[in-house]
Amino acid sequence: MKYYYLTDDSEKSLAPFFSKMVLAASFLSVVIIVGLMFVFWPRQPLSSFMIAEKIPYTFFLIFGATLIIYCYVNLCCGCGDMIQRGYHIIKYPTDKSTFEKEIGFYHYGLIAFLLHTLILLLPFVPLLILPAAISAVSLITFLKAVSILFTASLICRLFGFMVYLFWGRMSTLGYFVARAIMILFIFGTIFFAPFINPLRLLYVMNQRLNGIGFAFVSYMVIALVAILCLSITNHILVRHNINKD
């Protein structure tokens, strides 16, 4: 039971690693990013950028697109939208309990989410190297940007799971709340809390503006605190659910 998240691909798993839906979503995300890469690939030679003293924004555009897609996939995974559609799910409109709900969060859900978020990120990495090369960001900046993608997605996943624990998989309210919070986190924070906005941070990294180090550390601290808070909340909700059963 301890490692079910690795092996189980039944409807008892919230987002089974090897489920058709998760793999298809992952592949589709990669195809979209490749497509966007061709769209955003600089049409002019490097010298044109140098003459105009303009920075190519390929890094920001591709990383930004990856952030949105990757966060959304993780949100869906956390909400239970990627659940295997087996006999029970098709036959009965009611929710079926999942391992994530039945096993202590720190022992199962958190590990599964961490692993799965990382695994979902891996197919993007070879592609993300290309826009980083175009915009001439350093390896350190590239790794920082990848870590931003990871933490942002983990936050979305944990939040999606929290919504799932509150309202269940089938709730329309839960569906909209989860997406609204994601939009608020990725776009809305630009207006009221820019220091925690991952898109802005990616833009700053593309621009190589001064103070990237401080902005990155601030973001990471806040993101880790958010992950911690969401983990504790999820743990309490899962424990409550276990005790109730």
């Binding site: 691909d9 090897f18 058709k20 793999l23 992952s26 592949f27 990669v30 195809v31 490749v34 890469m37 061709f38 690939w41 600089p42 030679p45 490097l46 010298s47 950028f49 140098m50 003459i51 105009a52 003293e53 303009k54 920075i55 891996l122 197919p123 990495v125 070879p126 592609l127 190297i129 290309l130 980083a132 090369a133 175009i134 001439a136 350093s138 390896l139 590239f142 621009q207 190589r208």
Partner: protein
């Protein structure tokens, strides 16, 4: 702090000007940076920017030291600032109002401690005459940029510091004009320095009652009030311009592409100093200076800079490679995800394959696209147009270096021990009106640019200089052949050589490095070649194989060859006695050395050699 600007406080606008700063320290030992800040540009055009010239100073207790700069002053609107700076603290600063000090005329300098009071008034009016103490003459050859004529007694040469003497020697070699005399005390003529410039053999003093030849020379009467004391000398390989009873009075010797004139009488003493024909005399002397026609075919700076920008070493990853990389990756990812989906033991095996594939593509992506990109974050290219005329040992050239940076960085670019007149240039295509901040640092170990580049920006520097010619040779023609002897002193071969002779362009073989070569062309073959007309340019471009390549040399050739060919044809079409050789060398006349980084770089020199064709009987 005391400063001495230009020549006795005067400078010529748009010319390199010497400035001497004397620092006296009566306090504690101090190490500081001495800076001269010249502001260039115009408020109206909104392109005002400062150029800083800097030197490191070391001033022990109770010391007095002299430091010299050579600065380019292009406007008098802004004050010149001389300041001593220690870290961020300004220890002392002086502001110089340039308005009352400038002239647009070239200088005629009398470089002596003791001169007759009215000598300056008899120098030609189209020059700006000044008397300069030898100690304040330039220490860099291009400090004489605004000088047309230097009059100096041989004794004063001994007073020059070594750097000053080297600067003077190089200036004359590069086309300067020095008039000297021995005076009564001819001991100075035996001095090593004088002998280096002018190998004079003194045969003794002669007393002449009158100098009718001088009156005839100037076409102005010279009444014989008192006798002349002239020095009878002999100078090897020199031309006697004026002779009186077998005694040379005015002798001229070529030195490099410049000239040194020797007067056998003392211009500071009577009867010459009392003669009313002196203005005519100096005018005549100036007219004796050979006109240096070394223009060749010049391609405009902006055209070159545009081409350099287009062919900068840094490029984006090749789109086709990216297409293949992404395509293969997508296909493999699709294959492995499909395999992973199927339950069973093979799922785990394919999962591992999938991870390996992703890792492999990450590594390939890094080495193929990312790593080359990090290496080209800072790059440069340089181009030199070298013009050689005839068999002269001095070539003139315009060197341009372009620096390109994709990240914020500071750099130090060293141009070697030989000082060069470096100035920044802004490409017209760029949105920028002023260059990025830079400092020209000069010290005894060399000259360097310390500058700063913002991300995705460029800087261009230009050096308009003269060099020791790296090619020598001659062309001879008989009734059947044209023979060209060339000694190529470049470290690399001269490639894609093209000869223009008798209205025809001909390709010749590459000229090997460090080798004396003889190329013989049959005149009958030449006659069979069609006379050049404009439509033939395409044929020449095809011959160079330009279109097939995107390399630095080929792109530059592609952009410049048309202008060059048409320019050569227009200039030399009516000169059947001259031959022009154009060739390309993949090295620079100046080798830029970067002190903190090793950027990717390419150098190219275009040789443009005009050679008279002698007839071999």
């Amino acid at each position: 702090m005391e400063y001495y600007l230009g020549f006795n406080g005067h400078f010529r606008l748009n010319s390199w000007t010497p400035i001497t700063v004397v620092l006296e320290n009566e306090g504690k030992p101090t190490r500081a940076k001495l800076e001269v800040i010249v502001t260039l540009g115009s408020e109206f055009r909104q392109d005002v920017y400062p150029t800083t010239y800097a030197l490191d100073t070391d001033l022990p207790h109770n010391s007095k030291k002299r430091y010299t700069f050579t600065v380019l002053i292009k406007t008098i609107t802004h004050d010149l600032i001389v300041r001593l700076k220690q870290n961020d603290d300004i220890l002392i600063s002086k502001s110089v109002n340039l308005r009352p000090l400038f002239t647009e005329k070239k200088f005629a300098i009398v470089g002596d401690l003791f001169v007759s009071p009215d000598i300056l008034s008899v120098l030609p009016e189209y020059l700006y005459p000044v008397n300069v103490r030898p100690a304040f003459l330039p220490e860099n050859w291009y400090g004489y940029d605004g000088v047309k004529l230097l009059i100096m007694r041989a004794a004063a040469l001994r007073r020059l510091r070594e750097r000053q003497f080297q600067a003077l020697t190089r200036w004359i070699k590069m086309g300067g004009y020095l008039i000297t005399t021995g005076g009564f005390n001819y001991g100075s003529l035996h001095d090593k320095r004088t002998q280096h410039l002018l190998p004079v053999q003194v045969l003794g003093h002669k007393r002449l009652a009158e100098l009718p030849s001088l009156a005839h020379f100037c076409n102005h009467p010279f009444p014989a009030i008192e006798p002349f004391l002239v020095l009878h000398v002999k100078i090897d390989d020199a031309k006697v311009l004026l002779r009186e009873k077998d005694i040379p009075i005015i002798i001229q010797k070529n030195f490099g592409i410049g000239q040194i004139g020797f007067l056998s009488f003392d211009y500071n003493r009577p009867p010459f100093s009392r003669w009313d024909g002196r203005q005519i005399f100096w005018g005549k002397i100036l007219s004796m200076q050979q006109v240096i026609e070394n223009q060749g075919i010049v391609v405009g700076d902006q055209k070159i800079i545009d081409t350099m920008l287009d062919t900068m070493p840094a490029t984006f990853p090749d789109f086709r490679s990216v297409l293949v990389f992404n395509g293969v990756y997508i296909c493999l990812l699709w294959f492995f995800l499909k395999k992973v989906r199927d339950p069973g033991k093979r799922r785990w095996r394919y999962s591992i394959y999938l991870l390996v594939m992703i890792t492999a593509f990450t590594i390939i992506g890094y080495w193929r696209f990312f790593y080359p990109g990090t290496r080209q974050n800072f790059s440069y290219n340089s181009f030199c147009q070298l013009r050689v005329t005839g068999q002269k040992k001095v070539a003139s050239g315009r060197y341009i270096v372009g620096l390109y940076s994709q990240k914020k960085l500071s750099y130090r670019l060293n141009f070697g021990v030989m000082p060069q007149p470096i100035s920044a240039i802004v490409p017209k295509r760029s949105n920028r009106k002023i260059p990025h901040p830079y400092t020209l640092e000069d010290n005894y170990s060399g000259q360097r640019i310390s500058g700063f580049l913002d991300k995705w920006t460029h800087s261009f520097y230009t050096i308009n200089s003269t060099f020791d010619s790296p090619i020598a040779g001659h062309a001879l023609r008989d009734s059947h052949h044209l023979t060209l002897s060339i000694d190529n002193k470049f470290p690399r071969r001269i490639i894609n050589c093209l000869i223009y002779y008798k209205k025809r362009f001909l390709f010749i073989d590459d000229i090997l490095a460090h080798k004396q070569q003889t190329i013989t062309l049959k005149l009958s073959d030449l006659k069979r070649t069609e006379i050049f007309y404009e439509q033939e340019i395409e044929k020449i471009i095809d011959g160079l194989g330009i279109k097939a390549s995107s390399s630095y040399i080929k792109t530059i050739q592609n952009n410049l060859i048309k202008n060059l060919i048409l320019g050569i044809d227009a200039k030399y079409r009516s000169r059947p006695d001259s031959m022009v050789l154009i060739g390309w060398v993949q090295t620079g006349m100046i080798q830029p050395v970067f002190e903190q980084s090793r950027p990717l770089g390419e150098n190219l020199t275009l040789v443009n050699w005009e050679l008279p064709v002698g007839i071999n009987s």
